[in-house]
Symmetry: C2
């Protein structure tokens, strides 16, 4: 009987980390030098999403050690998100995704009449 290979096979593991509906986009947006506040991040998202969903995705990525949540404990609340070290190292994948994604979009535009 085969076993769960999360934490063993790099592909299975990466798939699980990236499985959320917005994870790649969030990691991409956080991939700069400035930490980003919650609402700011929501406004930057390319598509509509509720704060409930964003909150959940952020929590998931935090649990997976991809991002760091810094709560300033102020009123009104001020929370900033940034990439962790292992999250930053994901940049090489993001760069390839951007290149490939661009190629894929062009390819689909050429090949699809619709």
């Amino acid at each position: 009987m085969k076993k769960n290979l999360y934490g063993k096979c790099p592909y299975v593991t990466a798939q699980k980390v990236l499985y959320g509906k917005w994870t790649i986009v969030i990691l991409h947006l956080l991939n700069n030098d400035e930490p980003i506040r919650f609402n700011e991040l929501q406004r930057m998202m390319p598509e509509e999403m509720t704060h409930t969903t964003l909150s959940r995705q952020l929590k998931y990525l935090e649990k997976e050690k991809m991002i760091i949540r810094k709560d300033y404990g102020e009123i009104p609340p001020r929370v900033e998100y940034s990439l962790s070290e292992i999250g930053k190292s994901f940049k090489t994948v993001l760069d390839e995704i951007e290149k490939w994604g661009t190629d894929y979009i062009n390819f689909m535009n050429v090949n699809n009449a619709e």
Copy 2:
């Protein structure tokens, strides 16, 4: 109001193509010179999955033009799957995923007591 950016933003697009539970692994397994038959592919999968699920994922990837399905029309059936051109170009992403995934696994092993 924000719009659906599938087909516009490379990250959103890549996320949608990769959203299946096994897509990355399937693309990785098909990433060689030999086409692979259905049952053979199922046996190669690192974790248990039913043929129903594999069938669905393959259909999805075929619809997204990532893979090519070749039906030999024989009895008993013989169907081979291989990567399309745009699917092959995904290799650069897969390579980075493998590297990063390996780093991530090591990182998690060092940092998690459990």
